[in-house]
Amino acid sequence: MNIVEANNLVKIYARGSEKIYALNNISFSIKKGEIVSVIGQSGSGKTTLVNVLGCLDNPSIGSLKIDGQEIFKNTDFVKENLKFSEIELTKIRRKFFGYIFQKFFLIPTLTVKENILLPSVFQKQFIVDEKRLNDITEMLGISKRQNHLPSQLSGGEMQRVAIARALINNPQILIADEPTGNLDSKRSSEIQELLLNLNKNHNITIILVTHNLELAKIGNSIIELFDGQIKKN
């Protein structure tokens, strides 16, 4: 069963009068429980791709299905056949996705615990009990940090908090855009362990963008982008 199906995705940015094809005819699919690594040079379109897959952005043309549901379909530039509104996209995001980024984006005024619980503030249907919170912080090794502020944490710990926040609502797909980009190699390999563990023990599908080829190797498949296109190898 394909949880993600992308067909002929094109994303065009206008820079003045110039058009940039950040994604140029990308097609591939991801099976439930897979890890897919996305690699490529800076500017090759990795972030654009995962943002589109993660329903944070709409493509210009192409079609996208998540868990069999058509989210976007647009065969030409003139007519939009199907485009979800921001509210509909939010609901899809709530249902399927957790995100971690190179920057941790923790809210500085909230404690670790409050940061982790943030998604549940907006999604009343997820009742997060103490046990789930404790299990997740335990697994990520930040259970003793729950009442600290982000400014009191190290970079590695901050990324763990961001991961805990991404996991708290039990997403099916974790989108990780260069999650180790700001970490040293020791912290990086810890995050690598964590991702593998999440995938194996919790059956979470992971789309992992990275510069780090060692890390990319945890993927069941590796997609290399070059100028917005998938490089065949």
Partner: protein, 394 residues
């Protein structure tokens, strides 16, 4: 955790900026409460003064109606006189319950205030005046012993100002005579508090105004037709009929221009508060561009973000509003002194009357104003896309 906590914690992030905004809201609430309190208090005090006269109609010699109106309540210069015979004619009318004749006399007192001032003596008829005002009672002593006698009764404030008690002597300005204080009245909250009362006959004698009066207070029978009676009075020659309702209107007209000034100040204070809120909240939205985008990526709907920002605004306004209301209660005396400077005529009681209703109305008004100021930033924030935040580099 809930949306309220998110809003509240955010306000604590920029304590100085938050405080300044709250101070702005405090000031505008304070101004509003004071203004509404004034609106109510002034009219109350004026009504009090007018009811305190004990009569609905006053006759004076013909003259300017404005002058007559203020004369009635505060005493004044340019006094005109009418003959005493008028009393009999008026008493004859069937509508009349009681009348009381008065002669007012004003003298310049070089020792009053910095540059001197007028001192007003009110000659009253000891037979009828106390009857007209049964609520007057004495702190010390009593009314005059005879119809014509060199004795003084002092209003509460007059006694304090002159520092006199019963048994003391007081020089009557414009004469060489010293009168004995025989009574000091209790406080009434009306213009009587500042009066120096002498027997009518005595005032007529010492100031050479035999057979003359400045005013005749008339109390009508309960179901008398006031306008029909006024019509009759107009037949009397050289007489001005002043009904107390008319006096009140005249004074309220004088005051309305002062009210316009006060209302304008309040309006400006409100605008300032509104733009203060708008500015503060908008700045905090701009600063949190990334954070708001992340909240959206975490599943916040546009309306969630809208609510967070509006709750922040409402919190700012509630805190400022409550403190502002407390301030207006605590400092109503200060505001009163300030307002008195603007007014052409001030009644004796307190001018600012703040009550629960005014406090509640003001509180909701300031919250409404704040929310209006918060709508634009909230809309702006709710339209931030998660992507903008993730892509932005700041």
């Amino acid at each position: 955790m809930n949306i309220f906590q998110l809003s509240y914690k955010n306000l604590l992030r920029r304590k100085v900026r938050t405080s300044f905004t709250v101070i702005g809201i405090i000031i505008s609430t304070w101004v509003l409460v004071t203004l509404l309190g004034f609106n109510k208090g002034y009219e109350n005090s004026l009504n009090n003064d007018i009811d305190g006269m004990g009569f609905q109609i006053v006759l004076t010699a013909k003259g300017c109606p404005y002058e007559a109106a203020t004369l009635m309540l505060k005493g004044g210069t340019g006094l005109r006189y009418m003959p005493e015979e008028i009393v009999k004619e008026v008493n004859f009318a069937e509508e009349v319950d009681k009348t009381t004749a008065m002669l007012m006399h004003a003298e310049f007192d070089p020792n009053k205030g910095e540059n001197g001032g007028t001192i007003v003596y009110l000659g009253i008829d000891p037979d009828t005046y106390p009857e007209m005002k049964p609520y007057l009672n004495f702190k010390q002593g009593n009314w005059f012993n005879e119809k014509s006698v060199n004795e003084i009764v002092l209003g509460y404030e007059a006694a304090e100002l002159e520092q006199r008690e019963i048994g003391d002597l007081m020089l009557i300005l414009g004469s060489e005579l010293e009168f004995k204080v025989v009574g000091v009245l209790n406080r009434t909250g009306t213009q009587d508090d500042g009066m120096i009362f002498l027997p009518l006959k005595t005032v007529q004698e010492i100031f050479d105004k035999k057979g003359e009066l400045t005013m005749l207070g008339i109390r009508l029978k309960r179901d008398a037709d006031i306008s029909a009676f006024e019509e009759k009075l107009y037949e009397l020659p050289d007489i001005q009929v002043v009904s107390m309702a008319q006096v009140k209107n005249t004074i309220m007209n004088l005051v309305s221009s002062a009210k316009v000034i006060v209302f304008s100040i309040a309006f400006i204070a409100f605008l300032i508060a509104m733009f203060g809120v708008l500015n503060t909240v908008l700045m905090s939205v701009f600063e949190r561009y990334q954070e708001i985008g992340i909240l959206k990526a975490m599943g916040a709907l546009p309306k969630d973000i809208f609510n967070i920002i509006l709750i922040e605004t409402a919190l700012l306004c509630s805190i400022g509003g409550i403190i502002g209301i407390i301030f207006s209660y605590l400092f109503s005396n200060v505001s009163e002194i300030a307002i008195r400077h603007f007014l052409p005529f001030t009644p004796s009681g307190s001018l600012i009357k703040v009550d629960e209703k005014i406090a509640v109305i003001s509180f909701f008004a300031i919250i409404l104003i704040g929310i209006i100021g918060g709508i634009y930033p909230a809309l702006h924030a709710s339209n931030i896309r998660p992507l903008d935040a993730i892509r932005s580099d700041s």
